[in-house]
């Protein structure tokens, strides 16, 4: 009884203590937690660090690493709004200076990578430190095709992976994310995606990208492309709609960073014929729907590329940029049902993927092609602004 009481008292003392850094590991599965703790102990040999997560025998932990219990997140592939809310509440309670949020699969992050991510928020006055993973070749294609170019063109942020599961945030950035998270929770959208880069840019906070090397990026439980694309792009389109007043003003792009390593080359052209075939089928069947969204020029360009052989198939960068901008506008105007709209985007996205695979197979670096796509989005931003402001002008 006495032992229990003393344990409770000691835990309460620890809970009320302060620390420099709070590591939120509530999204890490229990089986990975031990490895993450080992990496954290190595990454922070002397600093006072608090870690939220499962209960852990204190004997195996160094004294400066303390664990506090927190609600466990059950979403394995992406941080939920509730995770941001909890992170801020705990961080504020313990008066931490920065918060490091780690997601599922964080045991594959090297201690130095964890340290760099935390240092950006702790020592370099960065409000949002976004990791740049070295992904395998032909991975993260939705990010390369849509998320990165759109974020870069509209929010002038060069973060290569705008939607990541690990983040280093200052306490004021955590507060902002918690406010957004609470709004989603109030609207009962518990699985909604948050866009930290967009939030930080709108708030005028400092954003930086940290090279963290390789990492096992968790995948959604449903690997169906129809579901993933609709979920991720729909969420980004909604965020763009909500922040229209911000991104319509011209902004200067942050300076380019030189990434140390690009992904290794891999041949994924085996799937190209099937993707091109899917695009051709859509081109002959979805004209009625596409014509509600895309202007005649884009439809004509799509018709032209649909007759190309699969081996030389390519989606021109400027055409892809216009297609995405037209879909963003149609999403805002509700030209057609939003589910239908995002469904009609899938064959076009597959056409882009087919073109990208062909380009990389021909010897061009994957990153170079993605940068060219992002540059096309930037160059065509005035088109989106014009369509957004005067949509009727483009209907004829």
């Amino acid at each position: 009884m006495t032992t229990e009481e003393s344990t409770t008292a000691s835990t309460s003392t620890i809970d009320q203590a302060t620390a420099d850094l709070l590591v939120v590991g509530s999204a890490i599965p229990p089986e990975q937690f031990e490895a993450v703790l080992t990496n954290l102990a190595e990454a922070f040999p002397v600093e006072n660090v608090m870690v939220t997560g499962q209960d852990h025998p204190a004997a195996n932990l160094p004294a400066h690493l303390r664990i506090i219990s927190a609600p466990q997140s059950n979403n394995a592939w992406m941080l939920r709004p509730a995770d941001f809310v909890n992170a801020y509440e705990i961080g504020r309670e313990h008066q931490v200076r920065a918060i490091l949020m780690l997601g599922s699969g964080a045991e594959s992050l090297k201690p130095q990578a964890i340290r760099d991510l935390a240092d950006a928020a702790l020592s370099r006055s960065i409000d949002l430190a976004i990791p740049h993973y070295t992904l395998p070749a032909n991975a993260g294609l939705i990010n390369s095709a849509i998320l990165y170019p759109l974020t870069r063109a509209l929010f002038a942020a060069r973060t290569r992976l705008p939607l990541t599961i690990d983040l280093g945030v200052s306490i004021r950035m955590a507060e902002r994310l918690a406010t957004v998270g609470k709004r989603f929770a109030a609207a009962n959208q518990v699985d909604a995606l948050l866009w930290p880069v967009n939030e930080a840019t709108v708030a005028g906070f400092a954003v930086d990208e940290v090279e963290v090397g390789t990492r096992d990026v968790p995948q959604p439980s449903d690997v169906d492309i129809n579901t993933i694309l609709a979920l991720v792009t729909g969420s980004l389109f909604a965020d763009i709609e909500a922040k229209a007043a911000f991104w319509q003003r011209p902004r200067r792009l942050s300076p380019a960073r030189i990434h140390l390593a690009g992904p290794a080359r891999a041949d994924g052209t085996a799937d190209v014929p099937r993707m091109v075939e899917a695009f051709r089928l859509a081109n002959s069947n979805l004209q009625e729907i596409w014509s509600l969204v895309l202007p005649p020029n884009s439809l004509l360009a799509l018709k032209r590329i649909s007759v190309h052989d699969a081996k030389v198939f390519r989606m021109p960068e400027n055409l892809w940029a216009r297609i995405i901008f037209d879909f963003v506008t149609a999403y805002r105007l509700r030209t057609i049902n939003r589910g239908h709209l995002l469904g009609a985007l899938i064959p076009l996205y597959l056409a882009w993927v087919a073109g990208h695979l062909n380009v990389t197979a021909s010897g061009t670096s994957s990153e170079r092609h993605i940068e060219a796509v992002a540059a096309a989005f930037e160059a065509d931003k005035p088109y989106l602004v014009a369509r957004w402001r005067w949509p009727d002008r483009f209907n004829s």
Partner: protein, 267 residues
């Protein structure tokens, strides 16, 4: 037989005895009388219904004007208290509809007033009809049914279009070659169902409509079943094979788990 012959001869004898000319004045008198009575009935009907019609239009006009006034007032008041801004703060930045909330409230108030005007106008018309219920007016109940039928038709067309698009997009993304055919089939299924419901609501056709609907609906379903069944044999067999072999999904659109696309990860 004999009695029949006797009757015939008597009739012919009477016919010979009758005057050879027809009284023209009497016929014209009857025709004129019938016409006068008909005109009187129609005029009486119109006189009985006319106040109702006038009341209908007056009620509609008054309530439309009221709606315009209320809508204008609401628009001004809500703009003055910055309703849009306050609502955006309360509900977050993700206001769903395209129009601003003030505009929606103003429009809703206007159309509510118009609807009230319609209801009051129709009841006034109904009241005037009731006073002359002895007159053979069967138009009003039919008009009510017609309005209902129009709503049914509009709803049916909207649902048909929505379902046709859903099926088309899903079928194209599943890379089914007969996607358009499937979509058309679904569209016509819903349209036929709507047409049958509309005719039934209008009480037109009776049993014939039910019979024709059954035949048409069954025909379309059978055609679709045959087309899909025959057309997707390969798809079904592939699906069954992959299920049995547990080798993951082999859908037509490459997924991350597809054996041939191990290198591609969309997310």
């Amino acid at each position: 037989m004999q009695s029949l012959m006797t009757t015939t001869s008597l009739t012919s004898r009477f016919a010979l005895a009758a005057p050879a000319y027809i009284d023209d004045g009497s016929i014209w008198h009857h025709i004129s009388d019938a016409l006068h009575q008909s005109l009187y009935r129609v005029l009486t009907l119109l006189i009985a219904v006319l106040p109702g019609i006038v009341a209908f239009f007056v009620a509609l006009a008054i309530f439309t004007l009221c709606g315009m006034l209320i809508s204008w007032l609401l628009r001004r008041c809500l703009s003055w208290i910055k309703f849009d801004l306050r609502l955006a703060r309360l509900s977050g930045e993700g206001w769903g509809p395209t129009s601003p909330p003030t505009e929606i409230v103003a429009r809703a108030s206007f159309w509510t007033c118009v609807l009230f005007g319609l209801i009051i106008g129709v009841s006034a018309f109904d009241a005037s009809y009731a006073t002359g219920a002895a007159l053979p007016i069967s138009l009003l109940p039919y008009v009510t049914h017609a309005v209902g039928a129009v709503f049914l038709l509009i709803a049916g067309i909207l649902i048909a279009r929505f379902l046709a698009r859903s099926v088309l997009i899903s079928a194209v993304n599943a890379q089914l070659q007969y996607a358009r055919f499937l979509s058309l089939g679904v569209k016509w299924l819903v349209l036929v169902l709507t047409a049958a419901m509309v005719l039934d609501h209008l009480q037109v056709g009776g049993k014939i409509v039910e019979l024709a609907f059954g035949i048409l609906f069954g025909g379309i379903v059978l055609t679709l079943a045959l087309a899909v069944g025959l057309g997707s044999r390969d798809l079904v067999s592939r699906s069954l094979e992959s299920h049995v072999e547990r080798t993951g999904e082999r859908g037509p659109i490459p997924h991350t788990t597809s054996p041939s696309s191990e290198q591609i990860r969309h997310f």
